[in-house]
């Protein structure tokens, strides 16, 4: 099947499901309007969702994605406790700076998810992405190392392996 058609079908089904969840359906009119609006959304934006064929099996990717979400929530809780500690501490023990890390991912979606995850995890915030060189600039609230490889190990690697499984 052509990629664009596949993408449109996925968007249509997703939009319809979201519509059903959002409205308390009382009669057929609401279903008809839902189908009409889903079709509109599908024709306007349907071809953006899936742009490339994935090599991995979809079930395997879903399992990896769920695993990723669990890992992400855990890292997020840790991040919040760390920031809470820093903010409450009377001396403000911070040592901020902007470091550079490397990434092996090269898909737009994968890099977006990686940089968003880095922003929401302990002490790090993505400032900019250099897609050609596959580098990320990270503002780190407590710089442990300025070396690019050690920083990559410290910041990026905990998500990168799972994300490779999901997006490549």
């Amino acid at each position: 099947m052509e990629t664009k058609t596949k993408s449109r079908i996925i968007v249509f089904v997703a939009a319809l499901l979201v519509w059903f969840a959002l409205t308390d359906i009382k009669n057929y009119q609401e279903v008809l309007i839902g189908i009409a609006i889903s079709l509109l959304v599908t024709f306007l934006t349907g071809h953006f969702l899936v742009t490339t064929e994935k090599t991995q099996h979809p079930v395997k990717r879903t399992i990896h994605f769920l695993f990723y979400i669990l890992k992400f929530v855990w890292e997020m809780i840790k991040a919040n406790l760390e920031v809470a500690y820093l903010v409450i501490h009377p001396m403000l023990p911070i040592k901020p700076g902007i470091v550079k890390i490397k990434t092996k991912l090269n898909k737009d979606s994968a890099i977006t998810v990686l940089s968003n995850s880095i922003t929401l995890t302990p002490g790090t915030l993505t400032v900019d992405v250099n897609k050609d060189k596959q580098e990320l600039y990270i503002h780190w609230i407590n710089v442990k190392t300025q070396d690019i490889d050690e920083a990559t190990e410290e910041i990026g690697n905990r998500f990168e392996k799972t994300l490779t499984e999901v997006f490549e």
Partner: protein, 120 residues
């Protein structure tokens, strides 16, 4: 029972929102403040919305809260990245305690190569 769990979640959310605001006041420069603002406020708002979901169950109301969580998780870090990048591009300096700025170094290199290209 679900009401109690929901209220506890909402209280946790409000506590983290408060810590985020405290960080916004106490930390020294725009980048550090963004760190506190994005992390704590995202987590805090997620806690509040999660509390709403637990209290309401999976009705259309609870589902709206769930969609709210998804949008916050997607939008908050993106906005933080945009603000940080814009701040750096308009030459807002890092706080004095900062130890390294690799972004600035690379940007200067890029500026120099640009100048050379113009001269040639």
């Amino acid at each position: 029972m679900t009401d109690t769990i929901g209220i506890i979640l909402i209280c946790i959310g409000i506590a983290f929102d408060f810590l985020g605001v405290l960080g916004l006041i106490r930390l020294p420069d725009v980048y550090n403040r963004l760190q506190a603002a994005t992390k704590c406020v995202t987590f805090g708002s997620m806690g509040i919305l999660l509390g709403v979901i637990v209290m309401q169950g999976f009705t259309s109301f609870g589902f709206k809260a769930l969609i709210g969580i998804v949008f916050i998780v997607l939008a908050a870090p993106t906005a933080a990245h945009a603000v940080a990048r814009a701040a750096h591009r308009s030459r807002i300096p890092l706080a004095n305690v900062s130890v390294v700025d690799k972004y600035e170094e690379d940007k200067e290199l890029k500026d120099e190569t640009l100048k050379e290209e113009v001269e040639v």
